[in-house]
């Protein structure tokens, strides 16, 4: 990462997050919760089969698995949003949920956002269009819960890390250069 990138990243902090960042964050969340849920199901199935006389095959119980997954997703997002104001996927992409005016997300707005979140899918994806076309990049559930998603990673530390890494590489190269000669 160059100095220009670092300065741009610092300048962006607190700005509305764009569509790609939010999509990738959601994808990461989906991957995490799916993998964790699948692993949990497999573990539970193994435990039941091993420890009880019953023989359970969760692969055939689609409805139950789906309901379980929705509940798990609600737990996953609800907890992470309300407690940390960001999901694990958002943490990876450096995003954070705030109230529309920029104040920290509270429990009330977090729960409303969680309840309104399915509207993005129930509107056949139209509810997400606000992220791309809206001036404040708010999806339908953001507008209902009066929340927004902003860039919020420690860009200053990232810049210092980049500088430190570059300096270290340069010094190593200078040390190695005479020995190669």
């Amino acid at each position: 990462m160059t100095n220009g990138d670092a300065h741009r990243a610092i300048a962006r902090q607190g700005h509305y997050a764009g569509a790609l960042s939010r999509l990738l964050a959601y994808g990461a969340d989906l991957l995490i919760l799916t993998v964790v849920y699948a692993a949990g199901l497999a573990l539970m199935e193994f435990a039941i089969n091993a420890a009880t006389p019953w023989n359970v095959d969760l692969k055939t119980a689609h409805g139950l698995v789906l309901i379980g997954e929705l509940l798990w997703a609600a737990f996953y997002f609800g907890n992470s949003w309300v407690i940390f104001a960001r999901s694990p996927g958002m943490t990876l992409l450096g995003l954070r949920i705030v109230q529309a005016d920029g104040s920290p997300l509270d429990r009330h707005h977090g729960i409303i956002r969680l309840i309104a979140f399915p509207l993005g899918f129930l509107t056949l994806g139209l509810g997400f269009l606000g992220i791309i076309f809206g001036r404040t990049h708010q999806a339908i559930y953001d507008r209902i819960a009066r929340t927004a998603v902003v860039y919020d990673w420690d860009a200053e530390a990232a810049k210092l890390r980049g500088l430190a890494a570059r300096g270290a590489h340069r010094r190593e190269a200078q040390v190695q250069a005479p020995t190669e000669r």
Binding site: M1, T2, N3, G4, D5, A6, H7, R8, A9, A11, R12, G14, H15, Y16, A17, G18, A19, L20, S21, L24, L92, L93, G94, V98, Q99, A100, D101, G102, S103, I132, F133, R135, T136, H137, A148, V150, Y151, W153, A157, A158, K159, L160, R161, G162, L163, A164, A165, R166, G167, A168, R170, R171
Partner: protein, 278 residues
């Protein structure tokens, strides 16, 4: 001449002293009388000379007398010159013989002790003396470089008692007078991190391939977001500067995407000048 007190301390017979005093008194009176007679005669001679010179034919007689007495005058002058040089030589020999003894006899220390230096110094008008000195001219005549060149710095430094010096320094006062914030503002933290071992420590403690990759990914994703936003604004014919860049409490102002784009654009040359690929 007083004689009473001297007699008490003299071993000379009183008759002899009396005769001596009588002779000295008579000689003194005779001398005074002779001097008076001489002076009167001189005055009379001068008056007679003037009278004679005023008479007719005095000039011719004067020239004749002058011619007649010339050999005598010349002889007298030579005699006077020889007597003077002989007297000088004798005086010189006399002084050479006497002065060393005199100097040895003088107690210089006692002499100096009798001099009141304070009184002498008090009589000197220091202010007047200093005012008469042209300091500028004096300083201009000093060759500072040569003066400094003659100083043995090493020897000078060796003579300084650093410990005593340090003990006299009030470090608290020194530190209190330092504006740390101003100094800190002048430190180029980026350069410090990049060019010193501190940077290596930071890199080892906080950085890794994953975090660097994550930083880069976040930054590049945000770049794409910005480009998408610009494209959408263009498609929707949205006026530049309409959309806010972020929540007001976080941006601190009612900034716009436009200004964000502008700041991005301003940073582009800096990016290019880095000359390093991501």
């Amino acid at each position: 001449m007083p004689c009473g007190p001297d007699r008490a301390h003299s071993d000379v017979p009183s008759g002899l002293l009396l005769a001596t005093d009588l002779a000295l008194g008579a000689a003194s009176q005779a001398t005074r009388l002779a001097l008076r007679v001489g002076a009167t005669g001189w005055n009379a001679s001068v008056a007679a000379g003037r009278l004679v010179s005023a008479l007719p034919g005095a000039n011719g007689a004067g020239r004749l007398l002058n011619t007649a007495t010339r050999p005598l005058v010349d002889g007298g002058r030579e005699t006077r010159a020889r007597a003077r040089s002989a007297a000088q030589a004798r005086t010189q020999r006399l002084l050479e013989a006497v002065v060393p003894g005199l100097v040895d006899a003088v107690d210089i220390d006692a002499l100096v002790q009798r001099i009141d230096i304070d009184a002498i110094v008090r009589r000197i008008e220091i202010d007047d003396l200093v005012q008469q000195i042209d300091i500028d001219q004096l300083v201009a005549r000093i060759d500072i470089d040569q003066l400094v060149g003659r100083i043995d710095i090493d020897q000078l430094v060796r003579r300084i008692d650093i410990d005593a010096l340090m003990q006299r320094i009030d470090l608290d006062a020194v530190v209190a007078s330092i504006d740390v914030n101003r100094i800190a503002e002048r430190i180029d933290v980026d350069a410090v991190v990049e060019q010193t071992e501190l940077g290596t420590i930071v890199a080892r403690s906080t950085s890794g391939f994953a975090s660097e990759a994550l930083d880069a990914a976040r930054s590049q994703t945000a770049d794409v977001d910005t480009r998408v936003s610009r494209a959408v604004n263009r498609v929707l014919r949205r006026k530049e500067g309409e959309a806010p860049v972020g929540p007001p409490l976080l941006t601190g102002e009612t900034g716009t995407e436009d200004t964000a784009s502008a700041s991005d654009a301003e940073l582009e040359p800096a990016d290019a000048s880095d000359g390093e690929s991501k």
